[in-house]
Amino acid sequence: MAAALPEKATLLEWYRQMVLIRRFEERSKELFHQKKIGGVYLHLYNGQEGTGVGALAALRPQDHVITAYRDHGIAIARGVDPNRIMAEMYGKSTGVSGGKGGSMHLASREHNFWGGYAIVGGHLPLAAGIALKAKYNGDDEVVLCFIGDGATNNGYFHEALNLSAVWDLPVVWLIENNLYGMGTALEDASGQTKLIKRAIAYDMKAFDPMDGQDVFEVHETVKKAVDYARKKGPVLLESMTYRFEGHGMSDKMYAARVDEMSRFKARDPITLLHDKLCELYPDIGPTLDTIDKQCEAVVTESEKYAENSPAPTFEDLTRHIYV
């Protein structure tokens, strides 16, 4: 990387966020199997932490974030309280969405985190609309929209990217290419598997695909893209990454991809950052160990918080249908 590295405190914060996401997801998986967390899916972010954390670090608080249903890691990286995320997954009234959204529908208005959305591609035009607000009002804000590779083949992708190009909207479209849309491999779903080339169709600015396991590269690229979007208009990015836990809890296929998995696990984004930190700061080991323990404690605390929170009431059932 040509760019100067961020300062030590920043790197430690990235490390903390990535480890927190990993511990949170590992525990979520266990809690799902214990039926503490409901639903039939639970889409974990393990393996993709470098992308989420690196990308969000390139935003300012007044910028906007929106994503699909694999949203726990994005919420954590945006600074949403893990207690309230876990409470949402438990379906408790203290959850970020009052227990009415669930794992796929986390959101926090105060963080300009507009939510996780569970209709594939459905949030893309919402991102365009939020960006339109910024442009319409002359607000100096950018929208970062995460997109799974699977979403690049439905109409929303085409219509939203095209609209953003026609209207020069300040959106960074970030494809998280984890090689599978649910169980279907990219090459079985896309005529053009180099997804970044989709930008050509809209004469849209694009940067070379990023190594999504490398938080530095993601951060550096997204920062450039955010600057471009702020000044000129939409940008398409592609992060090459991988799901360590498959699509969701019902995915029985991913475990069989042994070679592929071991290739990506050898490039675990957290290990890569850990090693880089040790290389930069040879005596940082104990600090990292402390962060690891702190993250475990945060997850344990979030679980307790969720356990002890009240369930929503009958009044909540009919609240907020209309304003």
Partner: protein, 326 residues
Amino acid sequence: MADKNTPMREALRMALMEEMERDERVFVMGQEVGAWDGTHKVTRGFLEKFGARRVRDTPISEMAIGGAAVGAAMAGLRPVAEIMTINFAFLAFDALINHAAKVHYMFNGQFKCPMVMRVASGWGNQATATHSHTPEMIFAHFPGMYVAAPSNARDAKGMLKAAIRDDNPVLFSESIALYPKPAVVPDDPDFLLPIGKSDLKREGQHVTLVAWARGVEWALQAADTLAKEGVQCEVIDLRWLRPLDTALVFESFKKTNRCVVIEEALPHFGVGAEIAAQIQDNLFDYMDAPIKRVNAMDVPLPYAAELEMLALPNAQKVVDAVREVL
């Protein structure tokens, strides 16, 4: 200026223009809303008056029009998205139903979605099967949505203004056949009709006719015909399919004990079915006859003018239905 006879398309145009003048956050977007002046001329002159920032021509991208309106509304603007006809709104259905209608609830009140989607609706003029739907009740199926379907120019103005000022998402259906039809329309820029309030169009004691949008015209024509025979029909215009106001309907039914529901739409799972269900559920002891429905025939609409006319409801079909319940 004074209140004057104004066609519905002009009443809608007045409503939109007044609301855009009143509130900077209100803007229009859709196919051909700008340079073309709107497919139905409701936004005639808007591009010139308000400029391209607030009068936004879009690509032919209904999914994006719907979804971008949702996002812009959540972020604080008040979009009025025009989908050329309700037939094309099927392509925006997901954005409306899964997002516009749900974001307020699903995220526990963190977001509002103050958007209006205007759609032109209805049968006639040999527009053929794919261009002749009146599926408003499908959109009205879902909590979180409001659905408006005015029957005349005056109501259209007051209802559209109320829809734009409301903080909830509204599907606003405009019957194409009613665009040229005039009514006396108030020029008061604060003339609003409350959301979810039905309207008593004509008093009578023998039978209750419940209708919406174009159905109201057929109901009133039938009431004229039947009055000559001494049958007095009470006619109620629902105006909104959601919130569905049954107060006037129930009050009337207690008096007449008979009801015919008239709508341009197809019969299956329709507004007539809902009204019938609610009456039997709430007013069973008042029922003196089966509740009848007058709908379009249960067929895809064919091109040939003769066949089209056979399939459509009309005043005579209403008269026949009333005779069956008397």
